[in-house]
């Protein structure tokens, strides 16, 4: 009697092992939610071209990407907040070799909101954004906001701030920007993938904050452009370093990256928030893959290098349809050379 369930178990196990342990090479990556729509499309396309290679990317947040790749539990990571020197050293100490940043695309972090009756794209000054997220500006019709939006009827409702609850590169970019434009923010909160927020609800992942804003009237959050666009939520323009209100667009992001492209450091870690430049969108960022410099598994190494090469060429063609900006040509050329550093 007991033999029957046991033999069924063995049969199922055996069948499962046979059916599913095919010769697919599985590579696991985890990290940023910011570029997840892009990566999700890329890995799907790449799998179609290479059916024996399955690159599984889990969007758990940039903080998660950095941590798990440092722990070695995933083969590569992804982040929009570049690893700090301490984090790089921690990786080096743990693995005996380094980890490399490879920019993949550029994106914009937009202030997106849900104000009943307001569908227009609002103009946000840096002071307004800092004030809202510091909790000092609490109503939508506050002069700091209304002043820049004279022809919009803003209600006297309480602002519901929504931020990321998980470790996020989008948070890194946003707080990096706020630290540059607001001394109070810089001293009180600082920048990082995870900060101590003065106010607000926490949502998990770009997906979570977008969902929360979509469902919560009078709310505002910061999220990658595609999330606002795909979900048809209004997003505002931000005043850039030249004093012009710029609405996030591929052109604006590309303009922000132009200066950086020429002076790209060898390790590709660079901040492009609040840069001067004609039409530059002030809250732009690169997003990076974190790839170990040394692989013990040659098959995985070659697969990843193959993917990056494809990503720098054909992959870039998919970016604009998903509202991510292509990498500048100088950066692409530099990255192709840097691929040789992966051993």
């Amino acid at each position: 009697m007991k033999r029957i369930p046991a033999s069924i178990a063995v049969l199922v196990l055996g069948a499962a092992a046979v059916l599913l342990a095919d010769n697919t090479l599985s590579i696991n990556g985890a990290g940023a939610t910011f570029p997840f729509p892009m990566y999700s499309k890329w890995f799907d396309e790449y799998h179609k071209k290479n059916p024996n290679l399955a690159i599984n990317y889990q969007s758990i947040g940039s903080g998660g990407g950095i941590k798990q790749v440092t722990e070695g539990t995933v083969d590569f990571g992804a982040t929009d907040g570049p690893m700090s020197d301490e984090q790089l050293k921690a990786y080096q100490d743990k693995h005996g070799s380094g980890i490399l940043h490879f920019p993949t695309v550029l994106g914009a972090v937009v202030p997106t909101y849900n104000i009943p009756g307001v569908n227009a794209s609002l103009n946000f000054t840096p002071e307004a954004l800092a004030g809202i997220f510091l909790g000092k500006i609490t109503k939508w019709n506050d002069p700091a906001i209304a002043g820049a939006n004279k022809d919009v009827n803003l209600p006297a409702n309480d602002i519901v701030v929504v931020h990321r609850a998980d470790g996020s590169g989008t948070t890194y970019c946003w707080t990096d920007y706020l630290s540059k434009v607001s001394d109070e923010w810089k001293n009180k909160v600082g920048k990082g993938t995870s900060v101590s927020w003065p106010v607000g609800l926490g949502g998990k992942g770009s997906e979570g904050v977008t969902g929360t804003v979509k469902n919560t009237p009078n709310s505002i959050t910061y999220v990658e452009l595609i999330y606002a666009e795909a979900n048809k939520i209004p997003y505002g323009s931000v005043k850039n370093a030249d004093g012009v209100f710029v609405r996030a667009s591929l052109a604006g992001v590309t303009a922000a990256a132009a200066a950086a492209a020429k002076e790209m450091p060898d390790d590709f870690r660079v901040s492009i928030t609040n840069v001067k430049g004609k039409g530059a969108y002030p809250i732009s960022t690169f997003t990076w893959l974190l790839i170990p410099a040394k692989f013990s598994d040659n098959a995985k190494r070659d697969a990843i290098k193959g993917f990056v090469a494809w990503m720098l060429a054909d992959g870039q063609n998919f970016a604009e349809a998903l509202s991510y900006a292509r990498l500048p040509n100088e950066v692409v050329a530099k990255e192709k050379k840097a691929l040789a550093n992966i051993q």
Binding site: A165, G167, T193, S194, S196, V199, L201, K204, T216
Partner: protein, 329 residues
């Protein structure tokens, strides 16, 4: 056959009367050893778990010590971690849950144990047991898609207009927050209160009721003033069980509590619970101190549920023993 050089004392009816050799020959010693190993695995796993929790939280324990429980900042940038907002959130949501679930649950248990005919009682209990089996993530999606909008659009404003003079119901209402999490938890723990309370009420000996009725009490009086007090410890035990479940609940709470590590007097405000912050932050806490602070929170949660479960069991056993002892009197 295994050669065991130590003679294990054997339990069971024919204890010392068979020689070690004969037990060995029949394979009993092997069976004993094998089953012992499996049983020991249970103990070892538990010890390992406690050990890992303790070891894994060594950094914050040394760095913050007891200040961990007096600090309310949770700042990964400054590496300052305190447990208060999470303990607060966990306790507040659990309290709200119990405030709602206990009256409903005990009421339902009384109905099922005292009033309902056995078939109806068993049928309803069957459904209640099914309710207890609904997984947490399902409560989570119902919370996110149904309860939160309901709270935000109807219930929070209603509460605010009626009870807004209390600090509990002031401030902006987002739909997520302590109150919503408490309500979702209440639905989750009611089945536990009902099942256990119903059982302890059923175990109260009949003569208690009959004596009360004989003395002229109404049905309700006999129930409320005699039977329930008799089963008091067991019912309290069921409440502790429900509380332990509510404290440890992760997914449903994480989806509706608002994820803001702040203490607030208002139930409308967003908060955070221990389980929710661990779920959100563990996979990505980049600094060792951050990770270990989360593990220390896990240790705290473990200790809380451990104590509650222990108390619950004692209370439930006490009631059934009272019932058994009294019945034989």
């Amino acid at each position: 056959m295994a050669t065991s050089s130590t003679t294990l004392p054997s339990a069971g009816p024919a204890a010392g009367s068979r020689s070690f050799l004969s037990r060995l020959r029949d394979g009993d010693e092997v069976a004993r050893l094998i089953t012992f190993l499996f049983a020991a695995t249970v103990v070892l796993m538990t010890l390992l778990l406690v050990f890992e929790l303790w070891q894994g939280s060594v950094l914050p324990r040394h760095k913050f010590g007891l200040a961990f429980f007096r600090t309310s900042t949770w700042d990964p940038v400054e590496e300052q971690f305190g447990a208060i907002p999470f303990i607060y959130g966990t306790l507040v949501t659990a309290s709200v849950a119990l405030l709602i679930a206990v009256p409903l649950g005990i009421g339902a248990a009384i109905f099922l144990a005292e009033l309902a005919p056995p078939r109806i009682s068993d049928t309803l209990e069957f459904f209640i047991d099914l309710l207890a089996a609904v997984p947490s993530v399902i409560y989570g999606i119902l919370g996110v898609f149904i309860v939160v909008p309901l709270m935000r659009q109807y219930i929070d404003p209603a509460l605010k207009s009626v009870l807004g003079f209390l600090p509990l119901f002031q401030g902006p209402a987002y739909g997520v927050g302590f109150l919503t999490a408490g309500i979702v938890l209440a639905i989750m723990v009611i089945p536990f209160i009902i099942s256990v309370s119903r059982e302890v009420l059923l175990s109260v000996p009949r003569d208690q009721r009959e004596a009360a009725l004989a003395l002229g009490a109404t049905r309700w009086e006999s129930t409320w003033k005699v039977v329930v007090p008799f089963a008091r410890s067991g019912i309290l035990g069921s409440i502790f069980l429900a509380l332990a479940r509510a404290l440890g609940e992760t997914m449903a709470v994480a989806m509706v509590i608002g994820n803001d590590p702040k203490i607030s007097a208002s139930l409308f405000a967003p908060g955070y619970s221990i389980a929710a912050v661990i779920a959100n932050e563990l996979a990505e806490a980049t600094s060792e101190l951050h990770t270990q602070s989360l593990i220390e929170l896990g240790l705290v949660l473990f200790l809380l549920t451990f104590i509650l479960n222990g108390l619950a069991r004692v209370l439930i056993v006490v009631t059934s023993q009272r019932g058994a002892g009294s019945a034989t009197a």
